[in-house]
Symmetry: D2
Subunit: 370 residues, 4 copies
Amino acid sequence: MKKHVGVGIIGCGYWGPNLVRNFARQDQGSVVAVCDAQLERAERAGAGTGAELITTDSSRLIARPDVDLVVVATPSRTHYRLAREAIAAGKHVLIMKPMTTRVDEAEELVTLAQANGVLLAVDHTFVYTGAVRKMRSMVESGELGDIYYLDSVRINLGLFQSDVNVIWDLAPHDISIIDYVLGGRIPDEVSAIGAAHAGSRHENIAYVTMKYGPNVLAHVHVNWLAPAKVRRTIVGGSRKMLIYDDVQPSEKLLVYDRGVTIAPWEDPEAVYSSQMVSYRSGDMHAPRLDDREALSVEADELIAAILYGGSVAADGASGLRAVRILDAAERSVRDGGRPVMLLTPEQVTAAIPIVPADPVDRVARLNART
Amino acid sequence: MKKHVGVGIIGCGYWGPNLVRNFARQDQGSVVAVCDAQLERAERAGAGTGAELITTDSSRLIARPDVDLVVVATPSRTHYRLAREAIAAGKHVLIMKPMTTRVDEAEELVTLAQANGVLLAVDHTFVYTGAVRKMRSMVESGELGDIYYLDSVRINLGLFQSDVNVIWDLAPHDISIIDYVLGGRIPDEVSAIGAAHAGSRHENIAYVTMKYGPNVLAHVHVNWLAPAKVRRTIVGGSRKMLIYDDVQPSEKLLVYDRGVTIAPWEDPEAVYSSQMVSYRSGDMHAPRLDDREALSVEADELIAAILYGGSVAADGASGLRAVRILDAAERSVRDGGRPVMLLTPEQVTAAIPIVPADPVDRVARLNART
Amino acid sequence: MKKHVGVGIIGCGYWGPNLVRNFARQDQGSVVAVCDAQLERAERAGAGTGAELITTDSSRLIARPDVDLVVVATPSRTHYRLAREAIAAGKHVLIMKPMTTRVDEAEELVTLAQANGVLLAVDHTFVYTGAVRKMRSMVESGELGDIYYLDSVRINLGLFQSDVNVIWDLAPHDISIIDYVLGGRIPDEVSAIGAAHAGSRHENIAYVTMKYGPNVLAHVHVNWLAPAKVRRTIVGGSRKMLIYDDVQPSEKLLVYDRGVTIAPWEDPEAVYSSQMVSYRSGDMHAPRLDDREALSVEADELIAAILYGGSVAADGASGLRAVRILDAAERSVRDGGRPVMLLTPEQVTAAIPIVPADPVDRVARLNART
Amino acid sequence: MKKHVGVGIIGCGYWGPNLVRNFARQDQGSVVAVCDAQLERAERAGAGTGAELITTDSSRLIARPDVDLVVVATPSRTHYRLAREAIAAGKHVLIMKPMTTRVDEAEELVTLAQANGVLLAVDHTFVYTGAVRKMRSMVESGELGDIYYLDSVRINLGLFQSDVNVIWDLAPHDISIIDYVLGGRIPDEVSAIGAAHAGSRHENIAYVTMKYGPNVLAHVHVNWLAPAKVRRTIVGGSRKMLIYDDVQPSEKLLVYDRGVTIAPWEDPEAVYSSQMVSYRSGDMHAPRLDDREALSVEADELIAAILYGGSVAADGASGLRAVRILDAAERSVRDGGRPVMLLTPEQVTAAIPIVPADPVDRVARLNART
């Protein structure tokens, strides 16, 4: 039985070389092919990996029998085309965020991957960090209580992108963190407001709000034109609250045993008095976090899912959920900030039935190929 | 000619005693009467001021001939009634924020004050701080260039109010700062989203967005249920950017010589390339600020305006502008976040002609009375 | 049986009014007399306290029968004379830090207080804070393990004193914190280096080191001429370490579950290899602290000690220990930084036998007087 | 004329690979040989550099004619032997800090390098950073005024070294920064106190004080056993003060326009009154810094000095000055903290005449060799 995954990587710009490096050091995986539109970038990224193919031709990479997993690290607008080709060729696929630039494309990839029994994963890097994993486990275990809100700020004097706005560039990070922490819960509606400055055609500042039922909010502030770097997510719960500050070199996650309780009152017409409000202000705590590099954890998890049939923290379904939210945010910006309703899971399922892929199939396929 | 202002203060809860203290130390003003629904609170606040009247009866205070200025420091819902009574009695009035809880009430007070030739001021405390004054002067002088956005965060584990939501409680600070820094510019539309938690009937978290023309945004995050205290306003301009962090004990205002310029391109269909974007990252600078207590500056300025006919940084018109924005935000929250258009200045003026009060009249009135 | 302590306060400069305020709000104590060389300062401080005597004559205050406790809040050089007079008159005494400016004076006060059966306390304010009390309890309980070092920094652009150097002005805070946390342990030797700048005759920067046995160090950096304010004490222990940062508005005390263990080696000639060193890097924790004002806790404790015979956190013996260290530091500075040995407790006791005062005596005296 | 420097690097542990990388990307230099006691470490470091010799034999590296510059990146105790061998072979030498572990060895290397007309440089990395260069230029230009003190803290939970104490491991950074900022000024005396914990034989915490004349102090706190990382140098001057905080991701250098002036007084017996002290508290400023990697600047400068005869920021003389101070600090620790006098420059020169090397000679030698 084959216990090895051959990895082919397309796209060696900013992020691709990090992927190459992390797949190259896998015990049960290796980089067998590297592709970039500029050959010298592919050569530089592939140096020392033992890759047999260094090419500018993505189709040659996809077609190789020794490539089991295709990593798509090209500009967003090419994700759909390359991933579709790879899935059609029976390859497992890892796509950078955002998975696609259109909802229908994302839906098609998810459906195709199911039909072909391959694994579709998305590089939502942060869901592989120790901090975000700890956040999710604290929500799941009930330690935070009911979740009231998530507030995420991701701003700095950043790289202006020429082909997308700041929502599609930065908000995928926050949206994927929120999606993961809330266990894939889908918001009822999304609204967003943005503005373009400094001669750009694309919004460089935006605020995105997601509503989950009547009283749970998630809010994201993304900004390429801020004087200082902020990377901070606050989560408010009924029992505890936390601040995840990714700019800190250590103690990135602070958990506060704080909150408020308002006693219910008998006279429904009465306003409550200050006596009915009780504040709790206990200890603060910074749990020790797994400090492995996120990409390394991601590569481990992906190789294991392919070889042994496990799941990954960010699969095609989560990629699709993020694209739906990004698309709704974009439409809300175009509509002056009016909220955009999202389809419910039931409505989505009625339209495109997302059957959980059978992991055993995936493994069988891989083995059959060898 | 009288060169002295008699001050009567109504309301001695949290903020009132600070007002008493700052008016008591004026050279050209003194506290002559103090009122509170609880007599002992009035007594405690008035002790050592030489006030001749300590009372629970606000009408007695307003009726006294030696009271030239009535300070209304009671809960918001009573502001309108008390201020109207004082203005009708020919008194100058200082009202705590928010000026009123309804737009029509605020309009009536502004109109009445003009008709009676008295000064109407609002306690927008922050516009009397060294930091906010410096921010305004940097905007006015063009040092920041074109203003792109203002982003204000005011969150902590705060005092839940029983009768208003967090927008009416905290956002007046941010809205008045924005109003002052932008020189009274009125937004085209306002949208807001909020949520109520912990058993409260009122929103304890809210996001308010103001749009000024197509590409200038002001955004406010207010929150009574946050694990840590943040008081931070970022202003992005085409030439410089600044961060005002009120939690810092010193260097509250940081000015960054940073920005981005995107060269215009010839082919209108082309996306810009990264070569067309130039980043500027120069010095950071924390100007020395006037560190006098804001309330002390406010009292000085108010006394001087009454005696010598000057203006105050926060007059009735700015109070009215803030109430309009708060009201629009409230309506947007009730409407699920849909943007609410604001009347233009012209539309407002057509409805209620706001004639600038003649300061000489005010002084003459005061002198005539003595 | 009298259950009330009459307090007389001498000195109404910077700190005195805070003492007046905190003793005035005691249930079982009241301010009965206030003294200052400038009558108007005494009047201002005493206003509203119900004090029957406001005077410039400290002897009149000390002589009053209704004064049970004399608070000495005058410049340091006058502490000895005033405290001696009060003790001789049978009064309990609270002296500001430093207790005296000479060791022999401090010894005499301690001896006299014992002989007269009165309580002698020193205003080492920080030992009444929640943070320092927590530090002590963590040391006492063994949670920190063996104490390795204490490092304290207290610097800012401070008030240059005209009559003492920065050691006598600021270091009493750090030395009293260290003394309290270590349970009154006496260092073997003290060394100090300082420098005088800006035209001053007195050192405005100094470093004081205390050695406790061969390998426990306490180090204090005090500085009136620093660009920013730092108030930070680090304590390193074998099991945990902590940082007490008094400038933080909250989470002043951070406890780190961190450390290093080096395995003992068999070959005594060998250097250890990196394999023998194990690092531990666990959670960080900010315990909830008692946030009452330190002076309020101090006044409570002092009144209770007088009425019911308990002890206080900073008694005359701790004041004397601090003066010994300050005096040794001063001598080391004069001697170019050479270490100065301190007398051992046994040597001290041989010279001046410090018998713990009998608290029952104190109470009996107080009761007898009434 | 040869315009190229062949570099041979000995030692590929923690720091060596960084040196390899930075010399490999030089236009006028290249890595021609790499050596380490473990061959695989040398191979890994040398991969991709085009080095012709990868060896475990340092003498073979030194002997190669194509090696012009030998970089000694081995443990400290081997520096002297390797550098002496390289200098004797007519090679330029760059040694990691500390240059040697004994003063006589450092003196011999300086003397030998002069005699052989080769460049001797020391890797005092920080003197090649934008922040430290800016600090020096501010001191040289007089912008800070007279220098009063330098206070440097370098602490964290660090790598316990098996063969040296924390003074020899960390303090060379601070001492070389201080030496560079003060333009090579030599302290009159050095004192130091340290302690060893956690089973170590070597001090893991130490305080080193240098005195320059009666009232200029430099103080260094180094610590391997601290709960948090601090890298901060404060410089106090008569006109301005600055804080260099190397932990900050940006704005590492803050310059404060603050200070104190005490008016001289006529009566020499009088204490000064608070009226005689004037405080200045102006703007704070964070100048834009050169943010190139320090090692890259160092490699550039070294190559240029070899080829064109310029000087380097950290030459053998500065390495020797640092070793003198480290040695004195060590002796002071052994002597219980008693101050150790340093030789004056004149005394040093009398003993070992340090003639500035003639850079033209160096270039001539290099050229002659090709």
